[in-house]
Symmetry: C2
Subunit: 333 residues, 2 copies
DNA sequence: TTGTATGCGTTATCAC
DNA sequence: GTGATAACGCATACAA
């Protein structure tokens, strides 16, 4: 591949001049500039991003660490980031971390080796200290969907406790008393906080939430099916189900319908995330809107700001709150 | 950030020695090796991937160009690629190209500037010649979901004509005669080929497919809704619908159900892709299995092979064929 | 076994 | 306006 040197030779000028026309440098004669440009396209010149990154000490690229591309939730997240990197002419370096300590660490470190200047990280497996240390090292390090007090200005997160409360309150206000919960089996902070919120709402309503009414499974449709099966198997009586996310809710609905249990006639159900699925399953799913895309865009924006040395004013915080989206899966009794 | 030089100074050895221990080079004394290693972790040394790429002329990264991360189809594709890059310890550089000539071109060129050695490209907007030229320039250039005869050994693609035939044949064999088609409004090759296949099956069955029975819309759920609305508005009689993809099928089902038209009682429908959606909508969608993930993995594998100078034997080709997945959305009449 | 020197493709700082 | 030239961080051929 042609280098700047080849161009210089071909054009009969020096490296420096070529470099200037590439970067629209100021002091170049109009005719030399044209000539060099012409030769560049002729020879199919393409600047070498690696060399450039090496000398300028910046990479014009943003690293992304997320758990699992297959999950529509993460796909949405990635999309949110993509909208801003595109606007800023920044490349995305993507690493998947599958919610395992080792893999997440590896993902971040690889990105660091590439000297990305900004980084949006979705980490659930790594502990606070490790992440704080990374934040210290990398100016453009931003966490998404996680809150760590020590680096609160680097966190873009959702208030999951509020979310849990919200869904429980809606179910209770709709007249339900026997309410089951299907949650994620991954003992990360999200499901725990959501259940905390649910518990708060239950207590205020004078209800209790026994452990037997909570089923844990993988946070996908299959997990939703399994969780409902277990609930049915245990003969737990319930007219309401609070799901960890829309995928689980959809799996649960699917399974209930296979058992000819009408939704919302016999059982009401509330999801979480408001991914596309929620709108297109039958009955349409009542759920919590999780503004992932907006949050992801914010996180990318933020990472780029920090990287360029223009951090937002001190004391700002990036907490988002879910809202309820009422559709058809909850019956008022 | 600490460089190889810092380590050398701290350890009292030369650059070369440090470089050797980093790359597990052969001729290093055991105790110096240990000492250097220790210092490296102490100082938190991280090799600079840019510098390394510059000198070795290889980047250990694979570029990916796809249309739209939000689409579950592409998310699956990305996931397929990710499984193999992870195994090969290769970074993913991701660019979205949104089916526009300019954007797709830009995406590829940015990747090229980063000197990725391998590249999996999903391009629908660029013309054959442009892509052939790229393939000539980049050894590890592989196309996915597109077939160009001149570079057939760089194409991993699905036989869309066969797919179209297959879905039409199944619908016809189930006794349907009035069959409508909802297709993608993007005039890329895929929808055209699928309709070609459908036409072939129709002709063989002595049926015809008037243009009025085909509706074009965006290839998503919303498009599916609109397409069905138009069909209903035009009072086209149909008992069967062939959809461009599962998303459109799902939108169509949704809209039909809103009009209290029973599926498959009144209208049968067949999708395309077999994304998760198909399994979880109600009724479960009969559709064509599109082995995207497998194909994406193959494409990544292939790109890496070509890049490392070990191309598969000549004359091989990577055509995949869709198969039908019978579920609940088709009624035999 | 270890060290020295050179170059990868750029940008940037000087001179001219 | 233009041209040498020194970095950037690393790998490697060649010396020692």
């Amino acid at each position: 591949m042609a280098t700047i040197k080849d161009i210089a030779n071909a054009a009969g000028v020096s490296l420096a001049t070529v470099s200037r026309v590439i970067n629209n440098g100021p002091k170049v004669g109009d005719k030399t500039r044209e000539r060099v440009k012409k030769i560049m396209v002729e020879m199919g010149y393409r600047p070498n991003a690696n060399a450039r990154a090496l000398v300028t000490q910046k990479s014009a690229s943003l690293g992304v660490v997320l758990a699992e591309l297959l999950d529509p939730f993460f796909a949405t997240l990635a999309h949110g980031i993509e909208t801003v990197t595109r606007r800023h002419n920044v490349q995305i370096l993507m690493s998947a971390g599958s919610i395992e300590k080792k893999t997440e660490l590896k993902a971040i470190e690889t990105l660091l080796e590439h000297r990305v200047e900004a980084m949006v990280v979705h980490s659930k497996a790594l502990d606070d200290d490790t992440l704080i240390e990374f934040a210290r090292q990398v100016p453009g390090f931003v966490l998404i969907n996680r809150y760590i007090p020590e680096i609160s200005n680097r966190c873009v997160w959702l208030d999951n406790v509020a979310g849990g409360r919200l869904m429980a309150e809606h179910m209770i206000r709709s007249g339900h008393k026997n309410i089951a919960v299907i949650s994620s089996r991954y003992q990360i902070v999200d499901p725990i906080q959501r259940i905390d919120g649910i518990r708060q709402a239950f207590e205020e309503a004078g209800l209790s939430l026994p452990e037997s009414s909570i089923e844990y499974a993988t946070p996908d449709q299959e997990g939703g099916e399994k969780a409902i099966q277990n609930l049915l198997a245990k003969s737990i009586p319930f007219t309401g189900v609070l799901a960890y996310n829309d995928a689980m809710a959809s799996g649960a609905m699917s399974m209930l319908q296979d058992h000819h249990i009408d939704i919302p006639g016999k059982v009401s159900i509330i999801g979480y995330d408001d991914v596309l699925l929620a709108k297109y399953c039958r009955p349409k799913l009542t759920t919590l809107r999780y503004p992932v895309e907006m949050m992801a865009a914010k996180a990318a924006e933020l990472a780029l700001q920090y990287a360029s040395g223009q951090p937002p004013e001190d004391g700002v915080t990036f907490k988002y709150t879910p809202t309820i989206v009422k559709r058809e899966s909850v019956l008022t009794i």
